[in-house]
């Protein structure tokens, strides 16, 4: 697909529909609408989205809007404490599962289940067993008798859900927080002032209709093929080298504790952050390391946003900024921020807590970014450039940046032949002097 086709398809699915949210937010210094970030990008990347917050922000309308985009490949369910598995199988036409006698028959059945989008309202009100089924559907699979069967359309499936993040404040909520936080990629509080609809959107909504009920899906706007093609294009994209390095910082680097015996948050596990020696004046006591799933989700989101930016003719030169800003959609409600920090120091505002922690992390990363880019560029040519690597982390030193240094060194040990040749040519051409300290 060429650039103009990609742009045209992105334009189609990012167009404000019956669910509107054109509030502008900057991610990686590129302006996006909220719809771009929480609808278009996740659809392109195949990321699950959990929408939390109060009523009246149009979650049901969004469900209908998505139904319009997906046509018949759409499955909607309303979460209730008495939700039965049979309802689910009925909706997916899986009743025949019970009659299936062989795995072959099961495969044939599941191949017919080509729903690509699953939307569950009030997901957290469902019993845990039903939630598990939904989570698997979101990930495009059905687990039956210990075997995994693929669902979705051409290997594509995505889940949107709405609900509440627990604390027991909502009657009927199941103990689903941990699973939810782990299985949903983006968690967005839709009624937060930074994400809520703009005044222009509200005006448009109020002008256009008098009926307070959500409008029903418009089946004429079926863009499933466009979404599937965009997803294929997305999968072809190369991840910029700096993103896995940043992933290491957030997955392993943030685990580091300076003054505890084993220097690891994961080592103290559930005792964190109430552990002797843990620093209260840094982020040690405020944020746990990101899970691999969260890192991958953030990389995917930032890459989908880069794709959207390119479709809008915005040149993205700095993937770091995009990645750091994308964390706003994967981290604040993911359960890795210390609850006492959120509640005691930030008045229960998870985004304020996230901002406070990220300010220091961003400064730390931006100070090393230049050196990291250069070190990665050298590493691609098989060159372990110590003077630049030392700017990231001194050899033998522990700390947040040590895993990043190890990663870059490992890249340098296994360069692709073509990179080695190309960079050797450039080095000769430039007659490279010994690199100095990078401020």
């Amino acid at each position: 697909m060429d650039k103009s086709e990609i742009a045209e398809k992105i334009s189609k699915i990012s167009r404000q529909g019956s669910w509107r949210n054109s509030r502008e937010i900057a991610v990686g210094n590129v302006p996006f609408s909220v719809r771009d970030v929480i609808v278009t990008a996740p659809l392109i990347a195949g990321l699950n989205v959990y929408l939390v917050g109060g009523t009246g922000e149009g979650k049901t309308q969004l469900a209908n809007d998505l139904a319009g985009l997906f046509g018949d490949s759409y499955c909607y369910a309303e979460g209730r404490p008495d939700f039965e598995l049979s309802e689910l199988t009925k909706q997916l036409n899986l009743n025949a599962l019970k009659e299936a006698k062989t795995d072959k028959e099961l495969v044939q059945l599941t191949e017919n289940v080509n729903k690509a989008l699953f939307y569950v309202d009030e997901l957290n009100r469902c019993p845990p067993i039903i939630q598990n089924y939904f989570f698997n559907f979101f990930d495009g699979k059905l687990v039956h008798n210990g075997k995994v069967f693929r669902l979705g359309k051409d290997g594509y499936a995505v889940g949107f859900a709405s609900g509440n993040i627990g604390d027991g404040a909502y009657v009927g909520i199941q103990d689903s927080d941990r699973a939810l936080k782990d299985r949903m990629h983006l968690i967005v509080k839709l009624d937060d002032p930074q994400f809520c609809t703009s005044e222009e959107d509200d005006g448009w909504i109020f002008e256009s209709k008098r009926d307070p009920r959500a409008t029903t899906p418009d089946k004429n706007e079926n863009y499933l093929d466009d979404i599937l093609q965009l997803h294929k294009e997305f999968n072809k994209r190369e991840v910029p080298a700096i993103l896995p390095a940043l992933g290491l910082y957030f997955h392993k680097g943030l685990d580091y504790l300076e003054q505890t015996p084993r220097h690891s948050k994961r080592a103290v596990d559930t005792q964190w952050p109430n552990v002797q020696g843990i620093r209260q004046d840094t982020d040690e006591s405020k944020i746990m390391p990101l899970s691999k799933r969260a890192v991958l989700a953030t990389i995917s989101l930032s890459q989908a946003l880069e794709m959207i930016a390119e479709a809008k003719n915005c040149e993205v030169k700095d993937s770091t900024a995009m990645f750091l800003d994308a964390l706003r959609f994967t981290v604040p409600y993911s359960g890795i921020l210390a609850p006492q920090f959120i509640h005691n120091e930030k008045g229960g505002d998870a985004y304020a807590a996230f901002d406070a922690v990220m300010e220091h992390i961003k400064t730390d990363i931006n100070e090393k970014k230049g050196a990291l880019e250069v070190a990665l560029a050298y590493a691609q040519g098989g060159n372990k450039e110590d003077s630049v690597l030392n700017e990231i982390c001194r050899p033998g030193r522990e700390g947040k940046w040590a895993p990043v240094r190890h990663y870059v060194e490992s890249l340098a040990r296994q360069p692709a032949k073509e990179n080695k040749e190309l960079l050797a040519k450039i080095a000769a051409e430039l007659k490279a002097p010994k690199p100095p300290k990078i401020a």
Partner: protein, 261 residues
């Protein structure tokens, strides 16, 4: 292996830009010729004394401009010792930093090595040399400071070695003391320092603001101190390797006033 390093920039783009920057740094014409460092024996007739500033509250003159670029921390000490000069400690340099700030605000008058008043305009220039991010017509300030952090009994189990001098051809520290309480993390710091010249209070800002804060990299074992003012920020760092050298990295030589006579 992926083609791109960040955004749409490839390894080739990044290395070319990097080497271009190095070339630019190498070829950058200084705003003015590097000032000649005052000779070892300083007296009232030495014309270079106007290139020194008396640090108020001390008997120490500090050079207005940096010298001896390209030497590592130890080599710099040896070079200064040959000339009867010495490297400022963080305590001394941060005193100069604060007093220059005061002078630039018109609240203090500075004097040069010839006991001549330094105008407010010049004080402002001196202050910007060590704090402004506008470096268009100004060389970056990258200097060594006389402090080495070693394992000990002070803050964060570190001691601070200062007052280095050369005796019998060897570099020795004449003063080792426990590191006083100071910020123990990399952060922006308010301009409040302990007696050893290290900041004690974190800034509420997480961005550099001239006159308000500076970037601080807290002391690490076996590292030495340095100060940087460039287009990003003013930075007091306690993380440098003594063996490190760079063409842009030098020192602001100091001399004690009593040697004038």
């Amino acid at each position: 292996m992926t083609k791109y390093i960040s955004g749409n920039r490839t390894a080739e783009d990044i290395l070319r830009a990097y080497h271009q920057k190095l070339e630019e740094q190498k070829n950058k014409t200084p705003r003015q010729e590097p000032r000649k460092v005052a000779p070892a024996k300083i007296n009232a007739d030495t014309k270079d004394l106007e290139n020194y500033v008396l640090i108020p509250g001390t008997d120490v003159l500090i050079a207005k401009h940096q010298a001896h670029n390209g030497l590592n921390w130890e080599q710099t000490h040896y070079k200064l010792a040959e000339e009867g000069l010495f490297m400022p400690s963080p305590a001394l340099f941060m005193a100069y930093f604060l007093k220059t700030k005061e002078a630039s605000e018109g609240n203090l008058t500075l004097y040069d090595g010839k006991n001549q008043q330094i105008s407010k305009a010049e004080a402002n220039e001196l202050w910007n040399d060590i704090s402004s991010t506008d470096r268009k017509n100004r060389e970056d300030c990258w200097i060594w400071l006389d402090a080495k952090f070693v394992q000990g009994s002070g803050c964060n189990n570190l001691d601070i070695e200062t007052a280095h001098s050369v005796a019998s051809g060897k570099l020795i520290s004449k003063k080792t003391e426990p590191l006083e309480a100071c910020l123990n993390k990399d952060c922006y710091a308010n301009l409040v320092f302990n007696k050893q010249g290290l900041p004690i209070k974190e800034s509420a800002d997480t961005k550099y603001k001239q006159n308000k804060n500076l970037r601080f990299w807290h002391p690490r074992e076996d590292a030495v101190a340095g100060f940087v003012a460039d287009s990003d920020r003013a930075l007091l760092g306690c993380v440098d390797e003594p063996q490190y050298s760079l063409s842009a990295l030098g020192v602001r030589p100091c001399v004690e006033l009593k040697k004038k006579v």
